[in-house]
Symmetry: C2
Subunit: 300 residues, 2 copies
């Protein structure tokens, strides 16, 4: 690892300085982009670049992190990946923690190559699948990157695998939580948080408290808030026990992701009705600030 | 799905025409490339391109498939991916089945983007992680791509997850096998094989027969042969029951991968001792043919 700030520290700083536990998901799909962006640029990759540029500037200083959905850029070909790398550098330069949502996961030697690629891309952290063993994360950690291991996802198809019961009484997701905590214990930052985080869906709140009990030092990257049905109460049960009375964003251990409800906020009929003529990025800022404020009721 | 040949059919043809169940893994790492390739080109990406070009031509017509390790190309940046795409097209044009080893796996909407990216890349099939549910494969199948779901991997770190016992007596890997077979039943080709295959490591032969009993119509993509300790006997227990007496490569249901032992065959001291001055690609051809012949004792 070089002398760069570690991920858990970086995220802590971003959360404290913005007072936000929000992570904005960048999942751009060209059909959904604002008309003005599409028309002005006249070509897909340029439109996606312009759109991400607008979203990043609209949320900088107001949320802690952005999460780039690799698939949305990969499908645009290598030029799409170049846009993603440029926007990652841009996001980092305006103080956002940058997460690459690529759900990689392979044996040590191959993981080393993925880690090198992620480091070069400019990401501060990546999402990973631990099915081949949570040790797939080690090459990333050794390069100073944070990781978020898939523990419990919010899609219903995940239930058949993740809720399966082991003979020792744990579910598969609980076993993955224990594995994540085991690996993460070796990567605790001075703030008490681990560089090894976990993906835990907001729509599985009944299970989330149990997972928190197993992963006390992990940052939970929580998809599914808002558009996918997750609520403030779902987030509350995922807070770290130490801060249950909720002072500080930076040590809360939750990083709550929203994509569509923020990046496509200009499509919201209410917004459009009341704000005709305002720039689309204002809707994005408004939605990001509103989500941060909602979550301040949970994390003060 | 368009009118292109389906993956299971394509693989069957490639196996029958070459009489080989071998898949050559392209995991190029610049430090390992032949001196002449490195020197002549003087730069990393060009050397990797030249190397893959040489390997593909050396094994065309002699093995059924090639598997591109996405990580090795991703770490070279977007130009590395362009090289991979060009070499995939090259491999397909010389009759090889082309597998993209990327171990993706995400919820339906995102999986759709990954599937579009894989289709554009020129791959015929991809490796996937089913931790979020085996349904992550559906968008790929709908585009006519084959998939290989991770069931049992050959790395020791995978044991803690994959060998965990469920309360119903199955291991996690056996559960994933049942899920794979369930999904695959909807995607059977006219040859009786499914477009949904499974990754099953060759070093877990004791478990492999049990997995075969659960996945009768799946092609097993088998890493770990040779360099990683897998043997002919390990492969024998993975044959489909229908062909246990072993007539035909195309219906055997096994696709045995080797990377280092073939692509870096010129490093073998025995080869070097006996073949000083011969071109490095001759060593690659020799190793691919030798592996095919060894496996003919298992699959006639």
């Amino acid at each position: 690892m070089d002398n760069e700030i570690r991920f858990a520290e970086r995220l802590h700083c971003a959360m404290e300085s913005t007072g936000s536990v929000v992570c904005v998901g960048l999942d751009p799909v060209v059909e959904k982009l604002p008309g003005r962006v599409k028309e002005r640029l006249g070509e897909t990759v340029g439109a996606v670049d312009e759109f991400c540029h607008g979203v990043i500037n609209a949320v900088a200083g107001r949320v802690a992190a952005v999460k780039f959905q690799s698939a949305c850029f990969e499908r645009l070909g290598t030029i799409g990946l170049e846009v993603m790398h440029a926007r990652m550098a841009h996001a980092a330069s305006v103080g956002l923690a940058v997460i690459l949502d690529a759900k990689r996961g392979d044996i040590a030697l191959t993981a080393g190559h993925y880690a090198a690629a992620a480091k070069q891309s400019g990401a501060h952290a990546v999402t990973l699948s631990g099915y081949m063993g949570v040790e797939v994360a080690e090459p990333f950690l050794k390069l100073g990157l944070g990781v978020f291991l898939l523990v419990r996802t919010s899609n219903p198809e995940g239930d058949r695998i993740q809720r399966a019961k082991l003979e020792d009484g744990r579910t598969v997701a609980q076993m993955m939580a224990d594995e994540t905590a085991r690996l993460g214990a070796g990567w605790i930052s001075s703030r008490g948080l681990s560089d090894v985080g976990a993906v835990v869906g907001a729509t599985q709140a009944s299970e989330a408290a149990e997972l928190r009990a197993r992963m006390k030092d992990q940052v939970f990257l929580i998809p599914g808030y808002g558009a996918q049905g997750g609520t403030k109460d779902d987030i509350r049960v995922m807070l770290r026990p130490a801060i249950k009375n909720g002072e500080r964003a930076g040590t809360s251990g939750v990083l709550v992701t929203s994509s569509r409800a923020i990046i496509y906020a200009y499509e919201d009929p209410t917004w459009r009705g009341e704000n005709a003529g305002r720039h689309w990025t204002e809707a994005v800022t408004h939605a990001a600030v509103k989500m941060t404020e909602e979550l301040r009721e949970v994390v003060g």
